[in-house]
Symmetry: C2
């Protein structure tokens, strides 16, 4: 029911009303004034009706006493009523036939259990009457395409329509976001302040924006990802549709150390999981609001950038230096020009300039006024035709803040640049040196010419790096789907179904891994000293003894492990010490020497579910957090990629004096480990092989920890 009320069709209705009522409209309310002004700034041309139970007029208009008092129902009502009065307005809307509401009031789900109950009732009431509800605790939306801006903060004109859809989980950021977008002529299709997402959720809006023709790129400010499985499906759909999603996901700082039985949870930080998940999904993660908008602007306006070889045209050696530094950091190449380009440049460049990439035509080349032969313009043509470059970064579009004395000449120069860009065989990306707002005059020069300027070299090259990686991801990302964990089938072994919750005895963990083919070190469960010595003799000294019992975690810490036992006497002594902790018996295993010890485990993220993590033991995971992660499920290529990502990867490949590891074999074991998750099902809390010992093509788990929760917990 609620789903249908938040469907793309219903959202289209919500976001494009022909008539709007403002409930709580009075001249003394700052909120009401803001909404009224925003509608005017946005250019709303439909019918607007102020509603107030007591004030007879607002903004010089006659009010109605309630929604019921309107002659025709408003398509949308923006509700400023206080928390306790909101539900009554919903009934009014239902009676009047108004199908869409924005609720500003706070004091709902964000305020404890009482507020949550209030919000549930509000949403249920709305749903029962077929009403779509945005908020509560939201500031509204701005549909720049349709000129409808019911928004409760001050908007500064003009509102520029364009390809970027913006979804904010914090509506108060809208003023800053709109100001920056305006300053850089980044046109928006729609901006929505989500509020508490009582009915309409971020995911609903993303679905709408993926289908929305006015939106070419989706920019998100996320405090949390509330429906991760749906988000993942949407990310895949957006990638397939060629509509990039750019996200600023906050909460990067650790929110306190998690206490975890398994080690994987401690080394796989929450934010690192977000990083891994977004990267897997082809969602571009940015680190600042400016980066969010500049990246979205580039993706919304520029043609697709499909190669990393960049030609550069500037009139400043300093800018060339800055570009070279940032390009290097982003992995963007600045190739040498082809001989024919060098020849063409020599013909148009002033003396004392070198026809090299990155190109500096010098101040003389910029100041020279001879029409199309002007060096900064003519060299753009030559560079854009160079066979070695995939795109051109062009600093030749220079627009002053106010009309210069030779404004006509300036416009002619811009037209020349536009003509060259139009016939360029590769994308041309115009940029400025530093991030500075466009003025009304400069916007007026650029917008009609469809020139979008990247906001400074630093943000600009960051955005170009994102765009390149996104295109590459589009090429290589296999069409993965499916949710995890799959509900385990009824045909899984009975002993697995009957395994009690909590920390499993190691024998049960070993049986689980045997089912998916993760190789484990040989182990014999001894229930007496004699059996232990016999097992040790059979397996070969030195051996390790470990207590085996349900509920037994942190075995080393509690003295339930004895390593490096090299004689029957050692084994007997260790057995005597350990047996009291060993409800199920004592595991005897041969010691493994040399090679590498890894940590491979699955932790269950509150948002994304099971996440596989792998890293080298010791300092690598502990101090350096050198851990590769993937939200499950993964395939074989993911497993290979994970190993390649580790900073410690050279160690596995065998540096000087290091043992090499068969990475194909190791990747296969990781994949099998990940497949064990489905066998356990949603009760899984942690599954960890630590250490996972590797030497050459020998890969063996030396210990396994499985922790489950009550199935309904």
């Amino acid at each position: 029911m609620t789903d249908q009320l938040a469907s793309p069709g219903r959202l289209r209705e919500l976001f494009s009303p022909a008539s709007i009522a403002l409930v709580g409209a009075s001249d003394t309310s700052g909120w009401a004034l803001n909404v009224y002004n925003s509608l005017r700034t946005g250019g709303f041309a439909g019918r607007f009706t102020p509603v107030h139970p007591r004030h007879p007029t607002a903004f010089g208009l006659a009010t109605r006493s309630s929604l019921r008092a309107l002659e025709e129902p408003a398509d949308l009502a923006f509700v400023l009523a206080p928390t306790q009065a909101v539900e009554e307005v919903v009934y009014d809307a239902a009676a009047a036939g108004t199908r869409n509401l924005i609720i500003l009031a706070a004091g709902f789900g964000e305020q404890g259990e009482e507020g949550r109950e209030l919000e549930r009732r509000l949403v249920d009431t709305a749903a029962a009457h077929g009403i779509t509800l945005l908020g509560p605790n939201g500031l509204g939306f701005i549909n720049a395409t349709a000129h409808v801006a019911p928004y409760a903060l001050t908007l500064s004109p003009p509102l520029i329509a364009g390809p970027v859809g913006v979804v904010l989980q914090s509506g108060a950021l809208a003023s800053a976001v709109l100001g920056f977008a305006r300053g850089h002529s980044i046109g928006l299709s729609l901006l929505i302040s989500m509020g508490n997402e009582g009915m309409v959720t971020t995911a609903d809006v993303i679905d709408y924006l993926i289908d929305d023709e006015a939106t070419r790129v989706i920019a998100l400010f996320l405090e949390e990802i509330r429906q991760p499985a749906r988000f993942a499906a949407q990310a895949r759909r957006a990638l397939a549709a060629g509509k990039p999603i750019v996200a600023l996901k906050v909460g990067r700082s650790p929110a306190g150390q998690r206490v975890a039985l398994a080690h994987t949870g401690a080394v796989a930080g929450d934010d690192a999981v977000v990083d891994a998940a977004l990267r897997q999904l082809g969602v571009i993660r940015v680190r600042s609001l400016e980066e969010l908008l500049v990246t979205a602007g580039l993706l919304g306006f520029a043609p697709p950038l499909t190669g990393r070889r960049m030609g550069v045209v500037t009139a400043s050696g300093g800018a060339c230096d800055v570009i070279a530094d940032r390009a290097h950091e982003e992995g963007i190449e600045i190739p040498e020009f082809a001989p024919e380009t060098v020849a063409a440049l020599k013909a148009v460049l002033p003396p004392f300039t070198s026809p090299r990439n990155p190109l500096d035509v010098t101040g003389y080349g910029l100041a020279h006024l001879a029409g199309a032969a002007r060096p900064i313009t003519a060299s753009l043509g030559a560079v854009s035709r160079d066979p070695n470059v995939d795109f051109v970064l062009n600093l030749g579009v220079v627009v002053p803040p106010v009309p210069p004395p030779d404004a006509a000449a300036l416009e002619a120069r811009l037209d020349e640049q536009v003509a060259i860009i139009a016939v360029s065989p590769v994308p041309v990306v115009p940029a400025t040196t530093m991030c500075a707002d466009l003025t009304e005059y400069s916007r007026g020069l650029l917008l009609p010419r469809r020139l979008h300027l990247l906001a400074g070299l630093d943000l600009g090259l960051t955005a170009i790096g994102h765009a390149l990686r996104w295109q590459e991801k589009r090429q290589i990302l296999p069409a993965k789907s499916g949710e995890y964990p799959a509900q385990p089938g009824e045909d899984r072994p009975r002993w697995l179904q009957e395994q009690p919750s909590g920390v499993w005895p190691e024998t049960a963990g070993r049986r689980l891994l045997e089912l998916t083919g993760v190789p484990m070190v040989p182990a014999v469960l001894a229930e007496s000293e004699v059996e232990a010595v016999a097992a040790a003799t059979r397996l070969g000294y030195p051996v390790a003894l470990k207590a085996c019992a349900a509920g037994l975690a942190h075995k080393s810490d509690v003295g339930a492990v004895a390593l490096g036992l090299s004689s029957p006497a050692d084994v007997r002594r260790a057995y005597a010490r350990i047996r009291r902790m060993a409800a199920e018996g004592v595991l005897v295993s041969p010691m493994r020497r040399g090679g590498h010890e890894l940590l491979a485990g699955v932790t269950v993220d509150a948002t994304f579910g099971p996440v596989l993590a792998v890293g080298l033991g010791g300092i690598w995971v502990e101090a350096l957090r050198d851990v590769a992660m993937r939200v499950l499920p993964i395939d074989s290529s993911d497993a290979h990629e994970m190993l390649g990502e580790l900073r410690a990867a050279p160690l596995l490949r065998g540096g000087r004096g290091e043992a090499t590891v068969d990475l194909d074999r190791l990747a296969e074991v990781l994949l099998r480990l990940s497949q064990a998750v489905a066998l356990v099902g949603p009760s899984l809390q942690a599954l960890e092989v630590n250490p996972l010992w590797c030497r050459g093509d020998q890969v063996e788990g030396l210990d396994v920890l499985v922790v489950t929760a009550l199935e309904d917990g």
Copy 2:
């Protein structure tokens, strides 16, 4: 002679002329028009005389045919004459009594040997006549304090005077820099385009700015540091004077792999040396032009930030999230408010808000209009008095781009904020959410109130991080001085003085290290098989054999090393193989096992001279470039710091299963190693102990490589 012409006194004269002549002034020259317009934009009130040999007028003014034709000599001449005609203008200036010249023309030192010769002659001519010369290939300067802006690019008004002195080694960046400074009301004292630095150098200008009262912070765009020893002395002087230097040093991308005999040179990249050197000197290194100006602006306008505990006042939960993330990355704390602050906040905050740090007064708290009781203002007072905070980040200063309907109320609110800031016990730093230009209206509100807004949270918190680290550096930086290498004294051993250049035999390297007390593994130089076996027996098996000869580098690669020999037969075989490469004999040493192997070496940077580098061997230095570096000389605390900086430091401290290392002992050895540099003198090219073996308090060099150049080479 040249030094005196670039002294602070002479530069004061250069930068503050009362009369200016423009040589090459004509209505058809873009350059001339730019200089003329810049002087007008800057508000030059002195006498201006256009000079041209043929055009009788320029800009509606009568020209003079040459500098000699002026009635009174101009204090400064801006020379637009073409390259070959510049020298003649210098003679004119000398004859006319003009003591200061700016030379625009290119085609000098930046254009090969011929250009360098031309430049030398030009500078010599000027110097011979007591003329101070800025450039050639420079665009001039902008003295905003004195309203003198002889600059050859377009300036957009207004030019805002203030505390930031800017030195650009690429003058073409000035337009972007001035635009950004204007957009964020970052007032400049002086901006100089250095050009080729034929006479006046960057160092000369830094000296001037350190003494300049109008300048509180120095911002540098550096392509290269040409006088490193002088730069280091200036950095120390500036730090002592409390005048921060902020630098964007470009050239971060590696300019191709260096071929080096010693390993240290390969792992200690050029840019990493710059990083280390600037950090040592207390110079703030930034990574973008925007960061350069925002950091300089903060340091120029805000009171000193002396503690890391930040109180935060905002009207947006999203802004709080962004702040928390960035603060965490910068190591800035956001402590809990004291109980009295919580109580005070509860009294002024609207319902549904939590009195927590970072504080979000919510949109309601921003929109509420009740004067000084307005929550965003009242809470600033409460937070600024909190005993737990060292400074306050304040997002409550909100200025619209154009006058709002209630402009008077807005100004009253700003005045309330100013009053609270004035009595705040801790610094209050106002900031905006995103980087956006101020308009003329908003600048007009802020400037008279001395409110400087940080340009967005991302750049703003980066700048605050820099400011905090700079203050900390000021507190702890010992007053170090001295240049390196000190000229070695005449009393150094004769054998050292007589050592031929190139790769030293290892025995000579060992003797050098013995002099400064770097412990080396025992070694016996054997000149026969019998001697080798005797030495091995005495030292104890297993042993290593190495060929010893001048000119022998890469010993392992050429098979001149045999390791792990465990019997006399092994030693004899190895000796027979190695002896042909061993002009001086074969070194026999015991093998060392366990512990850690480090690389410790001195490489000689082209700019900064000898640099000590240390790192753990293997993957740490090879793949991860985990190397700590210091420009020499260092003291004991530096050596300790270096070890602490290594990412691999936990390994040395002894992780699980790792051998611990006596870090005091190791630091002492590093210090002694660095002292060996002075004994060799300026001919040193590389000095490397690799491996430097450590276990517990045992620290021993297992091999040493010394490379010297011809003393005059």
